[in-house]
Symmetry: C2
């Protein structure tokens, strides 16, 4: 498999996979780049080009077998396995993240929840006993965890990220409304719903 | 003010604003494109170019006055006012969205929460009495609401979106893990944390 797939292509593959999951749930067994394109608002040519990076999974005219294409995409994205994830922050936001059922359904298992507040440590959230943040490095190293979610207040997010990275984490999903400074080899994605709202108000009257 | 600002520039302005809020909280009164760039991982040239679309808010060498720049960006993004938002869906996800404090802090007020389930209607969530989904068109029209958040299961999201758009909504923040088909004049942004995780696993070992 080539190693130089453009980031922009990789970023679209989970969207294709999500649409394929949906088609499968609706009972379809075969689809086409036209059908996918229509559902996603992406041109069918773009979809064929993206998939061709991995050798192409269908023939023009016969369409894609959904189960096969799903398996291939999951393999490319390395999500045919389950990933262990740590969650830092057990306040309102962290509690909502811990309770969100969508992670486990789609291959991400929250291993451990951490918080710095002594009154939170030892309590339960979504079946996890909240651990003191001091244990973060040990847990990450012992379990060889590469993915973390940050749901702490903005002012603590960078120092939490520093500890995570120092301990071996290579991918961070950051719910705190602040940009993180990380080394080049560490991947960060952001969840900030207000940013998305503010990206739309410009177009309203 | 010019009307043809590229979408990609608009999409970066909320990120600049968030960084400026942070700088102000840290006690800074003046900043520079270099400082902003360092914090955001964006080149200072890019930041100056983006801001120049609006006439430029600072002089080379003297930096930007943070309060002034914040006000200008808020005016451009039309968030110097408060926006009313409806939330559809009061399950686990909708409840978490309703309880999230970050919206009100940054100019978005949840006016009303709707659900289709008779056992939810009439109950309270985050201070809102849950309304039946049948009232959606009336509330949107009466209050002239342009923004909605969807937090219903994937299979209902498109039909909810259709009702919202038919009633006058022009911007949708969709938490349901499915792509929506909407007319060109309607803006949609997505919140799906699993997509973000799946965009990073490709790069892990």
């Amino acid at each position: 498999m080539p190693t130089s797939i453009p980031d922009i292509v990789i970023s679209r593959l989970p969207i294709y996979l999500r649409a394929l999951d949906r088609l499968a749930q609706e009972g379809f067994e075969v689809t086409s780049s036209q059908e996918l394109g229509k559902r996603l608002g992406i041109s069918s040519a773009q979809i064929r080009k993206d998939l061709s990076h991995f050798g192409g999974f269908g023939k023009q005219g016969t369409g894609y077998k959904i189960t096969f294409l799903k398996d291939q995409l999951r393999a490319v994205l390395k999500i045919e396995r389950e990933w262990e994830v740590v969650l830092v922050g057990a306040g309102d936001l962290g509690t909502a993240v811990a309770r969100y059922r969508g992670f486990a359904d789609r291959g991400f298992h929250i291993t451990c929840v951490f918080d710095a507040a002594p009154d939170k440590v030892g309590k339960q959230v979504a079946g996890h006993v909240i651990q003191p943040i001091e244990k973060l490095p040990t847990v990450i190293r012992e379990k060889n965890i590469q993915i973390a979610m940050i749901a702490v207040p903005a002012e603590y997010a960078q120092s939490v990220a520093d500890i995570l990275i120092e301990s071996g984490v290579r991918a961070i999903l950051n719910y705190a409304p602040i940009n993180l400074n990380v080394p080049q080899e560490v991947h960060v994605q952001y969840i900030d719903p207000v940013l998305h709202l503010q990206q739309m108000t410009y177009y309203l009257s």
